[in-house]
Symmetry: C2
Subunit: 294 residues, 2 copies
Amino acid sequence: MIIVKTISELQTARSGLPTPVGLVPTMGFLHAGHLSLVEQARAECKSVVVSIFVNPTQFAPTEDLESYPRDIDRDLALIETAGADLVWMPTPDIMYPPDFQTWVTVDAVTQPLEGAQRLEHFRGVTTIVAKLFNGVQPSKAYFGQKDAQQAVVIQQMAHDLNFQIEIEICPIIRESDGLALSSRNSYLNSDQRQAALILSQTLMTAKSAYESGESDAEAFRQLMLKTIATEPLAKCQYVSIADHLTLNELESVDQDGLFSMAVYIGKTRLIDNYLLRNGTWQTGRRLPQGFEKS
Amino acid sequence: MIIVKTISELQTARSGLPTPVGLVPTMGFLHAGHLSLVEQARAECKSVVVSIFVNPTQFAPTEDLESYPRDIDRDLALIETAGADLVWMPTPDIMYPPDFQTWVTVDAVTQPLEGAQRLEHFRGVTTIVAKLFNGVQPSKAYFGQKDAQQAVVIQQMAHDLNFQIEIEICPIIRESDGLALSSRNSYLNSDQRQAALILSQTLMTAKSAYESGESDAEAFRQLMLKTIATEPLAKCQYVSIADHLTLNELESVDQDGLFSMAVYIGKTRLIDNYLLRNGTWQTGRRLPQGFEKS
C-alpha cells in the first residue's frame, strides 16, 4: 500500500494504478462504516484510493475541529487490511495554501437541515470533495448514507459540474443495538452511549407508524419529537421528513421520503436517518453483537 | 471531425480520442485569435477538442447575450480546417438544467478590473470552465492573453481545485494595425473601428514611457488616461497597472506588471493589455496586412 502526502506524489502514484479507480474520502478515525465503503470499492474497482483529511473548512469556529478524534496508525492498519492500494493524507497547508481562494458551492439542497445549523459546512465539503475528485480522478467515489444530506449535495455537485464519476451511496452501518457508527460516538460516556439509542429508536418508531398506515408528515415529526423527548439526556435540534432529492419538507409521505434528525446527547451532536425509497425502507445494516464497540 | 451536443455523446467520442487531449474553450464566432489556440493545441496534443458555447451565466442582464455574434457554420468550417478532432457544442439547457445549483467562485483575483465592472461575470466563467474541464478531461487547456484577468482567474481556479490540467495562455493576436482581435469588434462601424486603435496605441505609449525609464504606476495611469482622452469616440472605463498574479494595483513598476484597460467605443466595450514579465514585454502578435478584417 502506497502512502502519499503531496499532490505531485499523488500524481506519480495514481498514474501507476490500474483503472477503474475507486475513491473513499474520509476524515480518518475509521470505523466499520468507512471500511464497508472500502470493501465496496474493492469489489467494484481495480484500484482503491482512500483519502484521510480532517477538512478544516467544513468546521465552524465553534465546532470540534481541534478535538476531532485522530488515530492515523490505527487508520492505516485498518485500510491496509481492507485492501486499499493508495492512501492520500495531505496536510491542511497542501490543501489550502496561503493564496487559496476558490470555492464550490451548492445552493438549494445545502440550505435546510445540516446546512441550516452548520453555516458554510457544505461549502467546505463540496470544495474539498471537488479537490479530492480532481486529485485522484476516480471512476467511482463512495460515501455513506449516514450523512444523508451530504450524499444529496455531492450527487448534485457531481451532476452540475459534469464530474465523470459515479457517486455510490452505501448503507449506514449500525452497532448491534442500532446506534449508527460515527467517529463522534467516541465522545460519549457510557450513560450517553446508552441514551444515544434514542436516535435509531425514534426512526424505528416512525417506520412502524408508516407501516401502520400513517402518511401525514407533521404527524411523523410530532411522533419523532415526542419519542426523543422521552430520553432525558437528549436534546433535539431538528427532525425532518423531506423529499429525498430536493430536501424540501414533505406534507405527506407516500412511497419516498428522507426521515432524518440531529440530536445532542450532552455536548455531542449526532445525526441519523432512515430513507424510504419506492415504499422500501433503507435503514442500514447492523454489525453482529460484540463486533464493534463505540 | 466529430460534432457532439450532449454529455453522453461527448463521453462516447472522448473515450475514443488518443491522449493527451487539448481543449480550446470558445464562445464561437471564431477569429484568428481562437484559431491560434487550436493551432497550438494541435502542435502539442494528440487530440484537439474545441467547445463552442455562448455561456449565459457570464453575461449580466444588461449585457449582450442576445446579440452576441454567432455563425456556427463558419465556425465549424474554420475549426475543421485548423485540424480539431472533436467539437462540443452543448445547448444552454444541457449545461444548465432546471435544477442546476452549483457554482465555482474565485475570490480575490475576481474582484478588481473586469470583476468590478461585470458583477458575477467570473462566477459564470469559472463555473462553465470547470464543467468543460470535467466533461472533456483534457491534459491541457488553451486560453488567450486577450482576457488577461480571465487567464489569471482560471489558473488560480485550476490550482486551487487540483485540476490536473496544464493551463496554456497564448499571445494576443492583433490586426496589422494593432487592434486586438475580438468577436465584439464586429459591432464597430468604420469610424469606431478606426477609433478602436486608441487601445493598442495607449499601451504602446505606456511601453515607450517604461523604456524611457518611467516606473511610477500612477504616472503610467495618467499617461494612459490622457492618451485615451485624445480619441473623441472613446470613453475609458478603467486603466490598470497591476501585479500579474494577484491583480493588486502596483505603486511602481519594476520588471513585472499587467497594463490593461477597458474602453467603450460607442456602445461597444473593448479590452486590451500588455504584459510585462521579467522585464520583457508580451504585446501579442500582429497578423500580416490584409489577412483579416474585423
